[in-house]
Amino acid sequence: MILLRRYLIYLILVILVATGFTYISYKIYPSIGFVKNDIWRVLPSPGDANRDIYTRAFVSQYGTFALAKPEAAYFSASVDIEENLLSGNCSYKLTGEDIEAKWWAITLYDNEGFLTQNNEKLYSFNSENIDFNFEGGFEIYFTNDDTFIAELNNKNWLRSPVEENFSISMRIYLPGEEFFSNLKRINLPIVEKIRCLDE
């Protein structure tokens, strides 16, 4: 009985150590596994068969059935250019240039990673439904401030969740092989804070 109890304690300790390793790897992985490009983070090989076990586990949880390169690249951002978390209390402007690819899309997610509930039923803009500006670039506004929306002279806006942090993702499909060797330096949109509700 004493021996059994001792082995049970060892088993619990092993499970605790394993849980500790898993927690630490979960916390550390984003800063090791992702390539950073300004505000954006991207996994170089999210769906590839030769990815490491940590990438496979992370992707299966947060982007199940992601495609391998060169089919698609998935960028995500949860901060603005001042490195502050994107907040539903503030309005933001994303400014970008058209990207050479078959198509691309920018989607807004709530803090759980789901599409944000909104009356407009609008969750993203893509390279075919966005209004480009005269220079060939584009802006997208993220806001839930109705006064701000009324002032906007632009149909490219997405409603952010109220009083909640949010994130955005940028999917780029068939950007070409070369794109993937340059993930750190390619020109991606920037996100600036315009104003906050409590300011």
Partner: protein, 175 residues
């Protein structure tokens, strides 16, 4: 080395091995959980169609709102699966995911520019015979998932895309 330090060392090593095992098995568990949902709806080796994702779509984290999905969970243990569909004029891809969620193959407009697509999906232990009317894909696992993605663009061709989604068929060879 004292007995205590030895025990601590062994517990850490065993803990790390358990951790690595969990990390390795986790994607399979995730895929198994998704395919279990599919098989409960009798969808293994049968095509399914999904509506466009919206704020009620909570099955998968970070769903795309710009892609129309169809597909089938597959089990090619005994027979190859034949996947056939019409193709849209917009971006499309048919991608294959093994049991551990690896995307081991993708066929898209760069491979097929016609209006119809036929793919023979074989299991890891089968010897694919030559086919003249489609692509051959060999899966590294007997079970997995096929996903067809269609880009909705500006939304002007929804009817076409939904009609094409309905033409997707997954049938075991000889069934």
């Amino acid at each position: 080395m004292s007995s205590f330090i030895k025990k601590v060392f062994i517990i850490i090593i065993l803990g790390f091995i358990v951790h690595l095992s969990f990390i390795s098995v986790f994607p399979q568990l995730k895929a198994w959980s998704i395919s279990r949902q599919a098989s409960e709806n009798n969808n293994i080796n049968t095509a399914f169609q999904r509506d466009l994702a919206d704020s009620n779509s909570t099955q998968i984290i970070r769903p795309s709102a710009d892609l129309l999905y169809g597909g089938c969970g597959y089990d090619v243990t005994y027979k190859p699966l034949i996947i056939s569909t019409q193709l849209p004029s917009t971006y499309w891809s048919v991608s294959f995911f093994s049991q551990n969620t690896d995307n081991f193959a993708t066929i898209n407009e760069l491979n097929e520019s016609g209006e119809n697509l036929k793919i023979y999906l074989f299991g890891p232990n089968s010897k694919p015979s030559k086919v003249s009317d489609g692509f051959i894909v060999v899966s590294p696992s007997n079970r997995g998932l096929v996903l067809m993605r269609q880009f909705i663009g500006n939304g002007s061709n929804f009817d076409e895309l939904y009609n094409i989604q309905d033409t997707l068929e997954c049938t075991l060879d000889g069934s």
